[in-house]
């Protein structure tokens, strides 16, 4: 009965496919495909995690899985079948099924032919390993024991993921990439429920995680955020810590699709027609880019069609330099496609961790920003951010886990959380100071692999629209 499953020799000790193993799975799937053209996309992941709550470990988990998506093409027709049964027969069945379905689908006039073999940069050496349950529990204890000693309540999560992706097709293309990512977060609350502090440590490997510092920061923020006062919502000078900057600036990346802009369905549409490439949209100190050099993966990633990722500067000195063109839209508009790739979001699909968004920083520390502020708000992070109006990238959301009033150059007291209705485009036009950029995790679910590189910033004006009693 084991024919449904990968022979054990296919799987490396962490449970993810090596380059040679991925090549073998791709070979099996291609060999079994009767389609005119076939694409094989492989995703292999292993995960180890530990949760803690109310100062003790609550649950943990370890799992691994490898799945293969076979896309069969018949002229402009295409269909995909994904399976995690890796034996030769199952893969051949999946390929035949994809081919059969593809024949029934109307041709897609926008389909681009598969690419041939590509050149990829040499692989970087990375440690791909997962910590043991005992190591994870020990990291959790570094937070829970600090919280317990301070009479506070800690809750948190450590997630470690290793993964490999591969893309192959019947024209000889083969791309492989592997990566490792770890995130630890903790929320520490006061026992009277009036204070809450949060901290995160994000890295490629478990040894880069500083559990002690996560505990110290979250404990300190919890302690100092106790009994917040309500202040009037409105427009404030605001210092956003790097996580808060990442929470909102990454929304710009999500809106940078060239086609939507060209068709009038985006902030990046130019009134009257065309798009905003070449127009200044934010302060001249704002530069946003994605660079394979920032990627946590061994090979720098590849895009959805298997092209190696390139460094792309999206906004340079406040001016829109690039929008994301897929191969079809690029051909139609007579420009080069953008090989920015990287797992969805605004930059299309693909493999590896190529989508790490970087905003260039400045030289002012958060401490100096506070000192320079007569009256303002300091924000640790934002929560439940949702699009309100895509025409202006206007989003709503709330502050959380450490919101403070600054008076006369000092953090004077904690304040109640605010809801905002703001656009990163607006506050990046009100920029005052930037800190050096650091690697943070600004994803909503705070899972491993959600890294961005962001500075803290001070803005002249940020609009808070109402108060929340939430702590």
């Amino acid at each position: 009965m084991s024919s449904f499953f990968a022979p054990r020799s296919l799987v490396s000790p962490t449970g993810i496919l090596t380059r040679a193993e991925a090549a073998e799975v791709a070979r099996r799937a291609l060999a079994g495909s009767p389609a005119e053209e076939t694409r094989i996309s492989i995703t292999s992941t292993a995960r180890a995690d530990t949760r803690f709550a109310v100062n003790q470990v609550t649950t943990s988990g370890e799992n691994s899985d490898t799945s293969v998506t076979i896309t069969a093409y018949a002229g402009g027709r295409a269909a995909s079948v994904n399976t995690n049964r890796l034996d030769e027969k199952s893969l051949a069945d999946a390929a035949r099924q994809a081919t059969e379905i593809a024949k029934l689908v109307p041709p897609n006039p926008e389909r681009m032919p598969e690419l041939g073999a590509q050149q990829y940069p040499p692989a970087k050496s990375r440690v791909i390993s997962l910590p043991t349950p005992t190591e994870r529990a020990a990291a959790a204890r570094k937070v829970t024991e600090q919280a317990r000693a301070a009479g506070l309540i800690s809750t948190g999560f450590i997630e470690c993921r290793v993964g490999a992706t591969a893309l192959a097709n019947s024209k000889g293309l083969f791309a492989y990439d592997s990566s490792s990512a770890v995130t630890m977060t903790a929320t520490v609350r006061t026992s009277d429920g009036t204070g809450s502090g949060w901290a995160c440590s994000d890295g490629d490997t478990f040894d880069q995680i500083d559990a002690q510092r996560v505990g110290e920061t979250a404990v300190e923020k919890a302690r100092t955020s106790r009994n917040p006062v309500a202040i009037e919502p409105g427009r404030y000078v605001t210092i956003l810590e790097p996580t808060a900057v990442g929470n909102l600036v990454q929304l710009i990346a999500g809106a940078m699709q060239a086609r939507a802009a060209d068709e009038g369905r985006s902030f990046f549409s130019r009134p009257g027609g065309g798009n905003k490439i070449g127009l200044k949209v934010v302060d001249e100190r704002v530069t946003l880019l994605t660079d394979p050099a920032d990627s946590p993966s061994t090979n720098g990633g590849y895009d959805g069609d298997g092209m190696p990722l390139e460094k792309v500067v999206w906004i340079e000195n406040g001016v829109v330099k690039n929008l994301n063109y897929d191969r079809f839209w690029a051909q139609k508009q007579g420009v080069s496609p953008t090989h920015a790739g990287g797992g969805g979001g605004g930059f299309g699909g693909g493999g590896g961790g190529g989508r790490t968004l970087r905003m260039l920083g400045g030289t002012t520390s958060i401490g100096e920003m506070v000192k320079s502020t007569e009256r303002g708000i300091l924000v640790t992070r934002f929560w439940y951010i949702r699009s309100v109006d895509p025409r202006t990238i206007l989003n709503t959301g709330l502050t959380r886990d450490g919101t403070f009033l600054i008076e006369n150059g000092k953090i004077s007291r904690p304040v109640k959380n605010f809801r905002f209705n703001e656009s990163p485009i607006f506050f990046l036009n009100n920029l005052e100071l930037l800190s050096p950029a650091t690697r943070i995790n600004a994803s909503e679910a705070l899972g491993a692999g959600g890294s961005t590189i962001m500075p803290a910033i001070k803005v002249k004006e940020f609009t808070f629209s109402s108060l929340s009693d939430a702590v």
């Binding site: 009965m1 040679a20 649950t59 079948v81 926008e110 309100v388 679910a445």
Partner: protein
Amino acid sequence: MDQPVTHSRRDFLKTSAAVAATTAMGAHRLSPREAEAARPSARDDPAVRELMQVALDVAKTAGASYADVRVAARRQQNINTRDKIVQGVSDTDTFGLGVRTLVDGAWGFAATSMLTKEAIAQVTKSAIGQALANRASQLRPVVLAPTPGNQVGEWRSPISTDPFAIPIVDKVALLLAANEAAGRIKQVRQVTSSMFFLREEKTLMTSDGSYIVQTIYRTQPSMSVTAVSDDRTDFQTRQSNDIAPMGLGYEHVLSARLAENAPRWAQDAVEKLSAKPVEPGRYDLVLHPSNLWLTIHETVAHPTELDRAMGYEANYAGTSFVAPPEKVLGQLKFGSAVMNIQGDREQPGSLGAIGWDDEAVRPARFDIIKNGIFVDYQTTREQAPMLDWYYKKTGKPVRSYGCSYAQSWSDIQFQRMPNVSLLPGKNDYTWDDVISQTDKGVAIIGDGSFSIDQQRYNGQFAGQCFYEIRGGKIVGMLKDLAYQFKTPEFWGSMEVIGGPRSYHLGGAFGDAKGQPGQSNAISHGCVPARFKQVNIINTGRRA
């Protein structure tokens, strides 16, 4: 493929040839044409049952006081179209096993897609190893509420047509016809439509003697129409989310009548371009069930999850304003006297419907809010004993309500919301009746942007279509509108609700909670309702 052949590749070939010769379940494979209608599954297969027993035996030998093992085979199909183009047809099939073990009151969980005796023994040992590591920091051991045990049975979603048996060509034709119908409306610039189908066959075996086989279906047809103004200064989108995802089969796609509804959705998108921007202020607010279900989800269903109230979700989803339990159970005034909320996993066709939950508990229908007063939380076996003091006081049994759920074989089960629904009023009011009783106000159809804080006090919700009400009539469309509120004030202001005739099930697939995050699928039943003097904001800006 010009990759170098490694020495191990030859080994794979040998191994796979060998196992192919001895295949057992592999023999069920069908010809490609038939494969669309049926594939081999994990449903009550004796070979799979034997493997599950291996996990329980290994767990017991290693000293687990309780263990459960789940095998699931999940098939999904997505069909996505845009205008005249089929953008993607994809089928996903995943199969694997997860083991949860309780050792000295500490949990461990591990999962694998390799269903061999050796691999299963290995993951069970991994789960045990985690439980032992986690035990070291244990302050309060896990205690499970009693269950009858020995639950043996089978349950299946009440579908009439298996969506996987319908030919792809028919599905594609239906979507393209709907796109064409919407695309005929002037100023419509983009139409997308899709179908999503899921079938999960899962088998659960527990160390206290339960063995349960279930087949769950979920179906969602949907459309989105975007209109762009001629001068390209505005664009507006209408999503078809008044058609909810359901725990039904292909019959739900047919009853959604996409092609017939598409011109209406397209006209809504076009009308939004010239709609009047709302004047901010306080208005009586009439919410259609297609909007209210999401507000119930965020403001009632989430804060009444016991794990949130106890602080277990503080690091991600958040805690709850409905806390601490000893100060709110039977005491907190959550809303007006017409507010009655129940949890259930039985409404036919609902996304939360199930025979047993993921720890073999037969779910119960239970009151969460009665006549405006908060009376109970959603619970699992681990959570119910935390409230034993309350159940003793009120004469209720200490039992799980059946809210344990894991999104797949690779994830650990934990407390997830059941269907959480607003019961109809005693009158027989419809949507039109509630509008006609409103002199001046705003009405909203469909769900839109939604955001709420981590304790569920401050919410901001938009919608698909906004209307101005004057003298009991809808007099025109509004735009750039969202309503903002404090939860208990909002529910306290609910003054008129619809009757049984106006009851509608909304719902969603993507309810996120837990770390690692898991998606839950639930429905929320409700009726049209009017809320007094709610804060309405204008969200339009100039870039």
